[in-house]
C-alpha cells in the first residue's frame, strides 16, 4: 500500500469510468477495495495484482481473484489487450519504472485508468517553498527516507509522459482534498495547483 487507505477518494471516480461486465485488471489492488466495489456494483470480471503478500491473502480469502506480483516485473506476462480496463490506482509513484509500467498498461488494456497523488498541489509546493522540506501530509504520510513513493509527478508531468507514449487522454479528473471533483473546464495549471489527486482515462 502506497498511500493512506482512508484517503482513497479516487476509488469511486475510477469505478464510475468502468461500464458493467468489463474485464478489469487492478494493478496494485491493495486490500481489494476497488475490485470488491467493481464486483458488487458492476459485476465485472476482475483480477488483481498486488505486491504485498498480506494484501493478496486477504483478497483471496474474500473470494477475489488476486495474485502476488510486482507491477515492475510481472505485467509482461499478460497478453496484449487481455482486458477492457487496466487500473493503476495510487501506485504509479511507487513503481521503479513508471514509464515502462504505463506502457505495459496501455498494451494490456484497451483502456488504462491511472490515478496518482499530484505533487504539484499547492500544499506540496508550499511545504517546499516555505519550510524547504519534503511534504508529509495526510495524503502522503511518509517521510522522505521511508516512503515507497519513489517517483512522484505532477499532473503536468503525467500529461507529458502520456504524450511521449502516444496515449490519448480520453478523460481526466482532478480531486481536491475532500475528494470533490474540481471544475471540468479549468485549465491544466489550475488542476495542477489545486488538484490533490488526479484520475486519467487513457487509450492508445
Amino acid at each position: 500500500m502506497s498511500v493512506n487507505r482512508d484517503q482513497r477518494v479516487d476509488l469511486e471516480v475510477v469505478a464510475n469510468l468502468i461500464p458493467p461486465q468489463s474485464r478489469v485488471l487492478d494493478v496494485g489492488s491493495g486490500d481489494g477495495s476497488l475490485l470488491e466495489l467493481l464486483q458488487d456494483t458492476k459485476q465485472v470480471d476482475g483480477r488483481g495484482l498486488e505486491l504485498s503478500q498480506r494484501g493478496v491473502n486477504e483478497c483471496v480469502a474474500r473470494g477475489l481473484s488476486v495474485i502476488q506480483g510486482d507491477a515492475d516485473k510481472d505485467l509482461e506476462f499478460y497478453p496484449d489487450k487481455g482486458f477492457d480496463f487496466v487500473v493503476l490506482s495510487q501506485t504509479l509513484q511507487a513503481t521503479r519504472n513508471p514509464k515502462l509500467v504505463l506502457d505495459e498498461l496501455l498494451r494490456i488494456g484497451n483502456r488504462a485508468i491511472v490515478s496518482f497523488p499530484n505533487f504539484g498541489h499547492w500544499r506540496v509546493r508550499l511545504s517546499l517553498f516555505i519550510q524547504g522540506r519534503m511534504p508529509v501530509t495526510k495524503d502522503l504520510p511518509y517521510s522522505w527516507y521511508d516512503t515507497p513513493n519513489i517517483h512522484f509527478c505532477t499532473i503536468r508531468d503525467f500529461v507529458n509522459l502520456c504524450d511521449e507514449l502516444g496515449a490519448t487522454v480520453e478523460k481526466a479528473t482532478a480531486l481536491d482534498a475532500a475528494g470533490q471533483k474540481i471544475g471540468l473546464s479549468m485549465p491544466w495549471w489550475f488542476w495542477n495547483f489545486f488538484g490533490q489527486q488526479a484520475v486519467f482515462l487513457l487509450k492508445r
Binding site: 491473502n57 483471496v60 477475489l64 488476486v66 502476488q68 497478453p79
Partner: protein, 389 residues
Amino acid sequence: MAVLRARKTNNEVDQPSSPVLRFGSDKPLKLDAGTLLSPFQIAYQTYGTLNDARSNAILVCHALTGDQHVASTNPVTGKPGWWEVLIGPGKIIDTNRFFVICSNVIGGCLGSTGPASTNPATDKPYGLDLPIITIRDMVRAQQMLIDHFGIEKLFCVLGGSMGGMQVLEWASSYPERVFSALPIATGARHSSQNIAFHEVGRQAVMADPDWHGGKYFEHGKRPEKGLAVARMAAHITYLSEAALHRKFGRNLQDREALTFGFDADFQIESYLRHQGMTFVDRFDANSYLYMTRSMDYFDLAADHGGRLADAFAGTKTRFCLVSFTSDWLFPTEESRSIVHALNAAGASVSFVEIETDRGHDAFLLDEPELFAAINGFIGSAARARGLSA
C-alpha cells in the same frame, strides 16, 4: 512377520475395503507408455451427496503416498483420513454441501491397479511388468470414474504435491470438465533436484536384497529396509531446516550423553527411523517406484511444445494456486511460473504464498491462512457456479 504384513497390504490391493470400480476388456486404460491396461480397477471413497444437477462434485487428488481415504479412517493404519482437517461435515470443504470424491491413483497400492495387484495373465503380482504410469494416465483413469458418476463438470479439482500435478493435468487435458482448480505446493514439472531425490529413494529400494528384482512377494519378502531408507530421505525434503531445528535441534534421544556409536543418539535420527518403519507397514515398495517415476516424468510444458501457457490456452477454469515459503521441494517460483503461464493464457487466477516454516508438508497441516484462502476461493467459485450455501 514380514510375510504377514505383506499379505495384509495385499488384501487392500485386490479387494479393497473401499468401493471399487472395475473396468473389463471393453474399457481398457490407454497408457502414455503406449500400451493398454486391461482389466483394471479404481478404488475410491466418496463423502456427501451428489446434487440433482450433478454440479457439486469435488475431486481430491492425493499425493505420492496418499490414498482414497481422505476424510475417513484409513483401513491400513487405523488413523484419521489424511485431509480430515480440511474435509468433512461443517469443515472448510463441507461434505454436507459438496460431493467429495477421492480415488487411489493407478499405480498405487490401496485398491487401484498397481504393481502389487494380481496380473490376470500370470495370477501373480504385476511387479515391474506393469507399464510405467504417468500423471496423465492417473487422470485419464479418474476421468473414467467421473464418467461413471455421470458428472459432466467437476465443481473443483484440488490436491497438493503430486495431487497438484494431477489438478494441473486435469485443467489442461479436460478444461471443459473443471470449473475450478486448486493446485497446492506443486509444479508444472519435476525439477532436476526432485528427480535426484527420487532416484536416491528408488536406488535404496532396489539395493535391498529382499527386493528380488521387484518379485519380492513371490519370495515371501518385502524390501523393508530399502523402502524405509527411501522414506527417511524423502521425509527430510517434506520438512524445512527451520522446522527440524525447532522440533529436534540437537536434542538427544532418551539419553544424557553421546554413546560414541551408531545408535540413534539424536532425536531426529529416532524420528526418521520411526517414519521409515511405519511407512513400510502401509506402502508397497514397487508402488513407491512407480509413483516417484510418474512425478519425474511430469512436464506439462513439454507436452505443449515447451510453452506452458499453451497447456491452458482458452481455459475458462478458475484457478487458485498456493505455495509455502519454506517449501524447498516445490518452491514458490514453481507456482509463480504456472501463474505467469495462466496470466498469459488470460485465465482467472489467484495465487497465495503462505508464510510458514513447516515446509512442503504444510499443505497437510492445520494452516489457518491456507484454509482462509481455500475457503475464499471455494466460496466465490460456488457463487459463480450457482451453488447455494
